[in-house]
Symmetry: C2
Subunit: 264 residues, 2 copies
């Protein structure tokens, strides 16, 4: 059996560093492929291009919407080092650029002596007791066919007309078909919750991501991951959103930051 | 009169999207060009390549050290949109890749109706009363010849053997020669303070940046900017550092995030 995420992030070599792939339907938000899904697709190509399995640091710029379409992903390796290989990947639908990303990939995370953390996993009901995203609103995003998002019960107000007045959302992410969560899955999950700023004063509509950066900070243990997203500054028509993902044990496994636009 | 920063970030077209530039000495940390300075250099090339003056979102991966050397910066425009143009820039010294960056540039920042901020400029003595970086330690980084960094007096312990035990540093940044602070200067200043984690338990040595992302959030007013950097998680030999830069009025003008490595 092939899990749906593996099927949806498959890349096939068709030339020197060029891959064919498909942006599958069912990983979308209102008919546009989710930004995390597109990141996972280019990360999959970056892993193939670098021959290294872990996406340690990814930088993705979003240039156009796409869904349910064949695409090509052109890659070029910029540097092969001892621990990391860095490459560029650009996804196109025909001539149209969809996303372009730089990725630094590795085979493992180095261990360091110094340990320090002030980033603590939020208190949240366990996965089984959190609020399924599907119970918060009708007309769920297509992505929710594949990703099982469960929210902190205090953070579902965006969907029911009573946002909590804070640009903050907590929840769990897992795959509906039971695929274990690995490093590649984190690139999807770092953009899978509703935008934190929806809990400020409601959803203003489509908030396109301009840029997203992703850091792998630990190795997922396969189980659902806890995710927390916060927006601290919204002005000049833009906002940032910082994300943190943890194993249920409390170990940080990823950080993300994105810059997104408000509708005019 | 040409200000030193403008001289040090000059790029000269030598072909289709290819620029010649020089990594000047005097913008280094212990003999390696500072990451913010290299970011400013590629941002300068990205502005020239896109024909847009503001670096709105930059993603930079650092692949090798350099200093006091002639380099080329090869650019290619990936998409020209209504508000933004996105391009790739790769700096090489001979065949060796130094940095590669994606940049989304614009002509102005859009104004948005919604305003929200929980990111507040820290309480800090004014520029004239803060502690000049040069008073904190002998053997200053070369960068300090050009950048006038003044620290919060509570945040200088890293230099005197009494780090405050918190991965956090606050200060002001300006140019020594009085050049007004503009958007390009922010790309330099987002990496100009001592690493926040030096205030945790002292400086472990050279902490190379893997990736840095920069968001322009406002327009500098020309005067010194206040900067605050925090590291929240240090493990597996890596740490992130989040930065915020403000006009003295308290208006946020930039955000940065970087992933860096601890010495083995």
């Amino acid at each position: 059996m092939t899990f749906r995420f593996d099927h949806a992030t498959q890349v096939r070599t068709i030339g020197d560093g060029v891959f064919a792939a498909r942006v599958h339907d069912g990983w979308d938000i209102g008919g546009n492929a989710n930004g995390g899904y597109l990141l996972a697709l280019v990360a999959s190509a970056l892993r193939a291009a670098t021959g290294r399995s872990l996406p340690v640091a990814l930088s993705c710029h979003y240039l156009g919407p796409v869904n349910d379409a064949d695409v090509t992903i052109e890659t070029s390796v910029l540097k092969t080092g001892k621990a990391f290989t860095t490459a560029l990947a650009t996804m196109r639908q025909g001539d149209r650029v969809i996303v372009t990303a730089l990725g630094t990939c590795g085979d493992g995370l180095a261990m360091g002596a110094v340990e320090h953390s002030t980033l603590v996993m939020p208190a949240i009901p366990e996965f089984e007791r959190a609020t399924p995203r599907g119970e918060t609103s009708a007309g769920l995003p297509g992505l929710m066919n594949n990703v099982d998002v469960r929210l902190h019960p205090d953070d579902t107000g965006f969907a029911t007309g009573s946002p909590k007045g804070e640009a903050h959302v907590r929840g769990w992410c897992a795959f509906r078909d039971g695929r274990p969560v690995d490093a590649l899955a984190l690139t999807l999950f770092c953009d899978a919750l509703p935008p934190a700023m929806f809990n400020l004063s409601g959803a203003p509509g489509w908030v396109p991501t301009v840029q997203l950066s992703f850091y792998l900070r630990g190795i997922p243990d396969g189980a659902p991951v806890c995710a927390e997203f916060t927006t601290r500054e919204l002005h000049n028509g833009m906002f940032e959103e910082d994300g943190s993902l943890w194993n249920a044990s409390g170990e940080l496994v990823a950080q993300s930051r994105q810059l997104a636009l408000l509708p005019r």
